[in-house]
C-alpha cells in the first residue's frame, strides 16, 4: 500500500545541512493502523509529509497506492492528495467557515457539484457524531469536536489513506480516547489505511497494529505493537514502553526498595497473551525457598492482545534465587534481572 525506499530528507540551513530523515525503509500494509513514534525532532513529522508530497524527499522513493508521490507534481499530485488525506494536531480548520462548510471544502476542491456536496456532508457529520452542530463555527467547538470536523473533512473524498499528524496531542486524555475510538471504527468500517505519528505510547498501544520507533531521522525499531511492548530492544523504545507500564511513583518506590533491601534480587517478568492468566507466580513461591515481594504489577491492553509485567524482589540464598530465575525461564516467562546501580 505504502512503500518507502531509502527515504532521505535534508534541509539546508545557514550553518550546514540537517538530515531530518535518514535512509528510512518502511512498508505499510493495506487496512492497517501503523504508528510512528518518536520525540520531537526525530523526523517523524517530515516523514509523514512525504507521504502526501507536502515535502519532497532529497533521496529515495515514496510509493502510495501505486502512485510515486516523490515524483509526481502539479495536477497529478493534487489529484493524488485527494486520496491521501491528513488530520492535524491543531486541527487547521477554516475559522471563517461553519462545520458543514469546512467539511464541504475538500469536495469543492475536488469539483463536486453543490447538490451532491450537501448529502455527502450530512453523511460525514453523522459518521463523526456532530449532528446538530452543522452551522456552528470552529470557535464555538471543543477540541475534540474540532478534531471530529477535521476527520470528517479528511474523509470527504473517500481517501485510501489517512495521515494523522499528532492528531490527539492537543487533547485531554478522555477526548484522546474518544478520537482514537473513532479512528479505530473508521479503520474497520472503511478499511482505511491509517498512518499516525505521535510521541505518546498510549496512542500506539490503544489503536496501532504495528509501530516504528524513530530516533534522529532513523527507524531504530519496528514490529507488531504487542511484540514491541513485550520485548523492546532499543533504549529509546524501552523508555517509550515505560511511559505506559511504569509510573514515576513506582520507579521511585523501586529505588527506595532497592536501597532498603540491599540483598534482594530484582527481576521483571513479562507475560504475553494467555500467559497472563496462568498461576506461574503461585508455583514459584511454592516450589522455592525464597521470599517474594511484589513491587509492581500491571496488565495492559494492546490492539493485538494483552500483556503484563510484574516486578519482584526475590530474597533468599543465591542458589535458590538462581534456580527460581531458571524456573521462570523454563516456563517461557520473559525474565529480566534489574541491575543495581
Amino acid at each position: 500500500m505504502i512503500k518507502l525506499e531509502q527515504i532521505t530528507k535534508q534541509f539546508r540551513l545557514s550553518n550546514g545541512t540537517l538530515t531530518a530523515v535518514d535512509a528510512v525503509d518502511l512498508e505499510i500494509r493495506e487496512g492497517e493502523i501503523f504508528g510512528i513514534i518518536g520525540y520531537s525532532g526525530a523526523g517523524k513529522s517530515t516523514l509523514i509529509r512525504m507521504l502526501n508530497g507536502l515535502e519532497k524527499p532529497t533521496g529515495g522513493r515514496v510509493t502510495v497506492n501505486g502512485m510515486e508521490m516523490s515524483k509526481v507534481s502539479g495536477a497529478d499530485l493534487r489529484k493524488a492528495r485527494q486520496k491521501v488525506s491528513m488530520i492535524f494536531q491543531h486541527f487547521n480548520l477554516l475559522w471563517s467557515r461553519t462545520v458543514a462548510e469546512n467539511i464541504a471544502f475538500p469536495l469543492e476542491i475536488a469539483g463536486v457539484k453543490k447538490a451532491d456536496r450537501e448529502p455527502r456532508v450530512r453523511e460525514l457529520i453523522r459518521l463523526v457524531g456532530l449532528e446538530g452542530r452543522e452551522d456552528a463555527y470552529p470557535s464555538e467547538l471543543s477540541g475534540g469536536q474540532k478534531q471530529r470536523v477535521g476527520i470528517a473533512r479528511a474523509l470527504a473524498n473517500e481517501p485510501d489513506v489517512l495521515l494523522c499528524d499528532e492528531a490527539t496531542s492537543a487533547l485531554d486524555p478522555e477526548t484522546t480516547d474518544s478520537i482514537l475510538d473513532l479512528l479505530t471504527d473508521i479503520n474497520k468500517r472503511l478499511n482505511l489505511t491509517i498512518v499516525l505519528i505521535t510521541h505518546e505510547m498510549h496512542v500506539i498501544r490503544k489503536i496501532c497494529h504495528r509501530v516504528a520507533v524513530m530516533e534522529a531521522g532513523r527507524v531504530v525499531e519496528m514490529g507488531d505493537v504487542l511484540q514491541v511492548f513485550r520485548s523492546p530492544q532499543q533504549p529509546i523504545t524501552k523508555r517509550f514502553v515505560s511511559q505506559v507500564t511504569e509510573s514515576p511513583d513506582v520507579k521511585q518506590a523501586i529505588g527506595q526498595l532497592v536501597s532498603e533491601n540491599p540483598d534482594g534480587t530484582l527481576i521483571r517478568l513479562g507475560f504475553v497473551g494467555e500467559r497472563t492468566g496462568e498461576p506461574v507466580l503461585a508455583r514459584l513461591i511454592r516450589s522455592f525457598d525464597i521470599d517474594v515481594n511484589i513491587l509492581q504489577a500491571n496488565v495492559s491492553q494492546t490492539h493485538g492482545g494483552t500483556f503484563g509485567s510484574i516486578i519482584l524482589n526475590l530474597m533468599g540464598d543465591e542458589a535458590a534465587v538462581a534456580q527460581a530465575v531458571e524456573f521462570l525461564h523454563s516456563e517461557g516467562v520473559e525474565t529480566e534481572v534489574i541491575e543495581r546501580d
Partner: protein
C-alpha cells in the same frame, strides 16, 4: 439662525463639493482595494516561505511598493500631472485626482494586505494544500476569507487617509471639500466656510470608520 452662524456659506456649492469628495474617496478606495490586494498577494506568495518563492518578482514588487509609499502625496500629484493629462485629457476636476490618489494609496494598502495574509495560520494553508487545492483556490477560499477582518480594517484606515488626500488634491484644482475650504475659506478669509467644510469631512471620516467596524464585526467568526 444657520445663516447668522455661517453667513458666507453657499450651501449648494458645499453640497456639490461634498459629493465630489465622496466620489473621489469611493472610486479611489475601490481601485486601491483591488490593486492593493494584487500587490499584497504577490508580496505574500513570492516572499520568503511563500508558496511561490521568487526573489526577483518579490524584489520588484517590494521596490514598487516602497517607492510609491515613500513619495509625499503632494509631490506625487505634481509628478503624475503628465500621466493624468494623458489618461484623462485634463488635470482639473475630481477625475483628475484619481490616478494620484490610487497610485499613492494602493502600495500602502498592499503592505497592509501582506501583513494581514502573514497573520493567517500556516497550518490552514498546509491543510488546503494537503487536500489538493490549487494556488488560485487557496487565494480565493483560504487567504481572502481567513484574513477578511484585517483586510476590511486595513481598507477602512486607507479610505480615511484617502479623504485627507482628496483635500490635498483639492488644492491643485480637483474640487471637493478641500478645494472649497482652500479657495472660498482660506483665500477669501471666510472662516465659516472652512469650518463647515471641516465638519463635513469629519462626518465622512466617522461614517467610514463606523461602516468599517460593523463589517469587521460581521466577518470575524473567531
Amino acid at each position: 439662525m444657520i445663516e447668522q452662524l455661517f453667513p458666507n456659506v453657499d450651501w449648494e456649492k458645499m453640497w456639490e463639493a461634498t459629493l465630489e469628495t465622496l466620489y473621489m474617496t469611493a472610486v479611489a478606495t475601490v481601485f486601491t482595494f483591488l490593486i492593493g490586494l494584487v500587490l499584497g498577494i504577490l508580496l505574500f506568495l513570492t516572499g520568503p516561505k511563500g508558496i511561490y518563492q521568487n526573489r526577483i518578482s518579490n524584489l520588484i514588487t517590494a521596490a514598487f511598493v516602497n517607492i510609491f509609499r515613500s513619495i509625499p502625496f503632494i509631490i506625487l500629484i505634481i509628478l503624475l500631472i503628465p500621466l493624468t493629462k494623458f489618461l484623462l485629457g485634463s488635470i482639473r476636476g475630481p477625475n483628475a485626482a484619481l490616478p494620484a490618489l490610487i497610485i499613492g494609496s494602493a502600495p500602502f494598502y498592499g503592505r497592509m494586505v501582506q501583513i494581514a495574509l502573514a497573520e493567517i495560520d500556516k497550518g490552514v494553508i498546509e491543510a488546503a494544500r494537503s487536500m489538493g487545492a490549487t494556488t488560485w483556490t487557496i487565494i480565493r477560499k483560504v487567504l481572502l476569507p481567513e484574513s477578511m477582518p484585517a483586510l476590511i480594517s486595513g481598507i477602512t484606515v486607507t479610505a480615511i487617509a484617502l479623504v485627507g488626500y482628496t483635500a490635498m488634491a483639492g488644492i491643485i484644482g480637483a474640487g471637493g471639500l478641500g478645494n472649497l475650504a482652500y479657495l472660498d475659506g482660506f483665500q477669501r478669509s471666510r472662516t465659516d466656510v472652512t469650518m463647515v467644510a471641516t465638519i463635513l469631512i469629519l462626518i465622512i471620516v466617522f461614517a467610514i470608520q463606523w461602516i468599517g467596524d460593523i463589517l469587521v464585526k460581521r466577518t470575524d467568526k473567531r
